[in-house]
């Protein structure tokens, strides 16, 4: 089936639009009129999706969004299948609680991208905001599965409280990357900010550049973890450029955070 195309009628300013109904699960069996009638929230007012978007197509597991979507929130939240392509930037909470399928963001994503997601794949061509793949405030765990690939830079606390899954950042990360991580893997190709892995219990953070570590991380050894070869081979299949040196080279292993359980590891390319 051809994709359902949603075109934003008017650029949004001020109050954001909350549109968690933009999900392949809800579009797959619905006619164009039914998609038009799906509910969205504009401030404290209930509206129809068709009030804001021109809808072309019906009954498809693929959705394509066009227009300035920086102020459209919750796109693809909780989706379990299908594909969403966003031809530009997207607002907060995109792909949060996601369980399956794929979201491709051709621009940048705002905060809370893929928060507490359990499965599926999110690709971002641009940057991502704070707390991508992390937990919501008060939740015990962040991302529990799936993959987030970010071509650009990311904000603070990305992967915080992460429980499982993989976050790949080609650019730089701000502070507290992987803070309080319980498990999972973060792969940072750019520069890290302050307090990387602060409070992490378990899990792995791989950094391709030197990192200023907290004093509660202890150096173990320099070696070539075989697991990274498996990981990087998989990343190549997803189109991530990994050099031979990165895949087969040596890494300095540090464990921590010794202020907590201390079974996390930060691998820094030697």
């Amino acid at each position: 089936m051809p994709p359902v195309i949603l075109r934003l009628k008017e650029p949004l300013t001020g109050v954001p639009l909350e549109a968690e109904s933009i999900s392949p699960d809800l579009f797959a069996e619905r006619s164009r009129e039914e998609i038009d009638a799906l509910p969205v929230a504009f401030g404290n007012e209930a509206h129809r999706l068709g009030d804001f978007f021109q809808v072309d197509g019906e009954r498809s597991e693929e959705i394509m969004l066009e227009g300035s979507l920086e102020r459209v929130k919750w796109i693809g939240s909780g989706m379990t299948r299908g594909r969403i392509v966003i031809r530009g930037d997207v607002g907060m909470h995109a792909g949060s609680y996601m369980k399956g399928g794929e979201i491709l963001i051709e621009g940048s994503a705002a905060e809370f991208l893929g928060v507490e997601m359990e499965g599926g794949l999110i690709r971002v061509k641009g940057n991502a905001g704070h707390r991508a793949g992390a937990s919501y405030r008060g939740s015990k765990y962040g991302m529990r599965g799936g993959i987030i690939l970010i071509e650009g830079n990311v904000g603070h606390e990305v992967g915080a409280y992460m429980r499982r899954g993989l976050i790949v950042i080609k650019g730089n990360a701000e502070d507290f990357l992987g803070a309080r991580m319980a498990a999972g893997t973060i792969c940072l190709f750019g520069q890290a900010g302050l307090r990387t892995g602060g409070g992490m219990q378990k899990g792995t953070i791989v950094c391709m550049h030197p990192v200023e570590l907290l004093p509660t991380f202890a150096y173990d050894c320099t070696y070539a973890p075989v697991f990274l070869r498996i990981l990087f081979k998989g990343l190549r299949q997803l189109g991530v450029h990994v050099t031979h040196e990165q895949a087969f080279g040596l890494y300095r292993r540090h464990h921590g955070d010794l202020a907590d359980v201390g079974k996390g590891e930060i691998l820094i390319a030697a």
């Binding site: 993989l166 070539a224 075989v226 299949q237």
Partner: protein
Amino acid sequence: MEINGVPIDETYAEAFTMHASRVLITAISKEWALEAARSMAGFGTSVIGCGCEVGIEGPEPEETPDDRPGVSVLLFAPSKKAVEEQLIKRIGQSVMTSPTSACYNNLEAEDRLSVGGKLRFFGDGFQIGKRLDPAIIGNGDRPRRFWRIPVMDGEFIVEDRFGVQKGVAGGNFLLLGDELPAALQAAERAVEAMRKVKGVIMPFPGGIVRSGSKVGSRYKFLNASTNTAFCPSLRRQVQSELPEGVGAVLEVVIDGLTPEAVAEAMRVGIRAACGPGIVKVTAGNYGGKLGKHHFHLHEVLAI
């Protein structure tokens, strides 16, 4: 039927259903992967005395999860539980101990056995589990979990679960030679050709058996004994199956993931073996009473 002037007996090989797993061992070099694989396959010739039948699969793996050289090993045992026990013992003692090795499941099957999931405890609490999504590891809809067990040369990677499926064990043919050198050369030719077939192993030393057995013995404590009917030295003392002029018999036993793979191995093996010095080719069976799979030599060779 004759091949290259060698008569093919109108009989069949009787084989049994067993459970099978396929393991992929990688290491820093092909030599070290082979060392681990040989060690794992050691003392794995016959389920009668070894508990399982293990061997190195001939065709090299096309690719490996960590892009290092790899070797594929097939293991057959009477039950899923026995396969699991043997995998845990053999991977734990022979693969994990081998420098630079890693060990992966190499059989897509509905049923899966917990192998790495048990071996991980060797890590004494420092083991690290990594679950990779199907999107990254290419495993259908199933994620794959790997265990990173800290060892003295770095880390041993072992997959959490290994596939198990029904296979076929005990496919066979017997080469009746006029003398031992000719029979041995023919068997070597057969095994060399059969090692190009995917999904089979010939679990005996060099792929060849010289001590074929029959069921039972005159001793109550022994459930298998020498195959007297095919021993040239007993020709005048027992009811012999050997025609005049036969001075030595060698057997090739084949275990495979599918009956088709076993039949293909028998076909290429017998064709390669038939040559000067071979008086006849026949096969071993138990009158059809024990094994589910019957490989009729004429049918196999007619393909």
